[in-house]
Symmetry: C2
Subunit: 132 residues, 2 copies
């Protein structure tokens, strides 16, 4: 990964935060590839992260969309099952340099879940893995 | 996502397993984009999953590699920090149809970590989120 301002001596060297969010009861059209792509792009912008590449796959009319944004900082992904109003999202970024909550807010605004199950996991070197 | 043999009436409808694995003290060259790409491809094959797209970015000589395999089943990703011998891996697949342990074995064989910190999180509709 790109080191940015981090060096081998910076404590903590990589303070990664990986948010796994399960969106249930989404009222947005989860089979709309354009909507999912725009949600991903807007979430990356809200987080202050940088897209290296964005790949999207639509499984067909009325079916799910899967998309991954490859970031300079790690990745964001969305996988949708429109027939169940369900979307599985990942946001893996550096915790103290990026606004993960803002990104999640953008995603919730776009996909409109009735219920969100979310967990945040600390990852990186120089940090102890934990579940918040 | 593609439904495969699953229907709205299948219990559980989507039994997703998301493995987050942190590889520490890797003795393989984590700045070798070819090695990381091959490890990803071999891991997908070992899991019995299907690649839709694979994207890789190398941050430059001696620096990290970030790669994501977009799968018909969800995704696998690797982000490496060679200067710290550290790699953050994600394997998000259907738990009972794919061999996630085989994929992890392939990745460990390729990246040769001294220590692995791993957690498995159940995701999907019709399942209760848990950490194993």
């Amino acid at each position: 990964m790109n080191g940015g301002a981090m060096t081998a001596n910076s404590p903590p060297p990589y303070d990664g935060r990986h948010v796994l969010a399960d969106f249930h009861g989404c009222s947005a059209r989860l089979d709309d590839a354009g909507l999912v792509e725009q949600a991903l792009r807007d979430a990356v912008t809200a987080a202050g992260a940088t897209i290296l590449d964005l790949n999207l796959h639509h499984f067909g009319e009325g079916q799910g969309v899967t998309g991954v944004a490859l970031l300079a900082e790690s990745h964001m992904s969305i996988h949708t099952w429109p027939e169940h109003g369900y979307a599985a999202l990942d946001l893996f970024l550096c915790g103290h340099r990026h606004d993960i909550d803002a990104a999640l807010g953008v995603l919730a605004g776009a996909l409109r879940p009735a219920d969100i199950r979310q967990r945040t996991i600390a990852r990186g070197y120089g940090v102890t893995a934990l579940v918040e």
